[in-house]
């Protein structure tokens, strides 16, 4: 006879909040570094140099065609045989590396969607390649890629739940802990789903407002 008992959530509320904090922390860091990697990757993919393009291609294909869980286990336990990475560092590294590949593709598509004329006009005005990219092309590309970029950030928040397997005290890890001590699988996992929903929804809502404000400049 399974009787529902949501009181277990109030009992473990502090632990859940701590887990939520960790998830937010890891997600924010990974979004930040992942975006940096994505920009670098996109620039590499659209560069004149064959070597850079090949490097970026390899990076993207490797990451996109292997499961994130395997990547996390590899970075923490696999590479851990050779040098020591703390679970936090390994998580942020794995998540950044992972999302970086997808963000590379998103930004690359965004860059390539901007008419070549923009770059040419910028160059003819005397800007360098770098200035044309960062002052003219990328700003315009950003508005176009906000929806898929937001999607990637949301995916990252949800995917961060995998770091629980290397014992990072994120929301999922805390939840597993509570379930093993209280055996209230239904109540706890339902609550965790709501937590992740609120996080992801808040993010997608902010990005939508950002899109709206950028669109007003049209």
């Amino acid at each position: 006879m399974y009787k529902l008992n949501f009181a277990v959530l109030t009992e473990y509320w502090p632990a859940l909040l701590a887990g939520l904090q960790m998830t937010v922390k890891v997600s924010v860091l990974s979004i930040f570094f992942g975006t940096l990697m994505g920009v670098a990757g996109a620039l590499a993919k659209t560069s004149r140099f064959r070597a850079l393009r090949a490097l970026a291609f390899t990076y993207v294909e490797w990451i996109r065609n292997t499961p994130l869980l395997i990547q996390i286990l590899f970075i923490y336990f696999g590479l851990g045989v050779f040098f020591s990475l703390s679970p936090m560092v390994a998580s942020v590294f794995a998540l950044s590396f992972f999302s970086g590949a997808y963000i590379t593709e998103i930004i690359r598509a965004g860059i390539q969607s901007i008419h070549k004329g923009q770059r040419e006009a910028a160059l003819s005005l005397g800007m360098t390649e770098g200035q044309s990219m960062f002052l003219v092309v990328l700003p315009q590309a950003v508005r176009r890629i906000l929806p898929p970029l937001a999607g990637q950030f949301i995916t990252l928040i949800k995917d961060s739940s995998l770091i629980s397997v290397i014992a990072v005290s994120d929301l999922t890890y805390v939840a597993k802990n509570i379930v093993t001590t209280t055996f209230r699988a239904f109540e706890v996992w339902l609550a965790i789903a709501v937590f992740y929903f609120v996080l992801s929804f808040a993010l997608s809502w902010s990005v939508r407002s950002l899109e709206y404000r950028l669109a007003k400049s049209d």
Binding site: M1, Y2, F77, S84, I166, A167, Y173, N177, T181, A185
Partner: protein
Amino acid sequence: MDWLRKVALVCLVTFVATGILGGFTAQAQDKGVAAIKKNGKLVVGTASGYYPFEMVDKKNELVGFDVDIAKGIAREMGVQIEFQNYSFSGLIPALQASKIDLVIAGMTITDKRKEAVDFTDPYFISGQALLINKSIPNVKSIQDLDKKDYVIAVSMGTTADQTASRVFKNATVKKFEGSALAGLELLNGKAQAVVHETPWVAIYQRMNPDKTYAILEPFTTEDLGIAVPKGNPELVTWLNAFLKKYKETGEYKKAYNYWFVDMPWWENVPPKK
């Protein structure tokens, strides 16, 4: 703002539906012996990795002391057997969700667990021991390991987890899905010790003599039992009768000698699984 109203409506409907469903407490599943025999199959939940109770051999088959007992139960019932391998922490939820008929996974009988499931009489007595990384020599007791920078790795949801969390005040206890990952953490030097029951510690140490040593004297006493869903006293009685017969006919002693004493299975089981 009408999208906000839509979202609120969806949430409201979801919670109401959950509340209504929750009103129906789950029917006590008829999982007694008759039901299992009718099904023709005994579904056993276990968590591979607790040497030598349940492990995976080189042919990728589940073997071990618990596995033999489970097979004996199925034979006695006259049904087929199906094993489902979960992470240890998922076993009791699986039992509650009627995914499996019983759990035999070196699981200790505890009061907290008895609130969620029913247990047979104990079929084995064990205790927690310590597996230590050789980089920390001369550890004699728990106090030697209870230092602020030390990490103790355990398998999540086990009594080792609960014991370690209770006993270590300064060291950090890290919980992993399965003793294999906890052991790996130790081998990589990220954990200084693993807490687990004596049989596992002894075997794992023998598999990794260059990196580990063990303190095998148990510092707790654990009764291992078979877990069944709550509300099936008939099944518990049947299983207790089976266990008694298993001991009286000498099957138990034979299995014990095979898995714990002579260990002819050693070559067939790859390490760290």
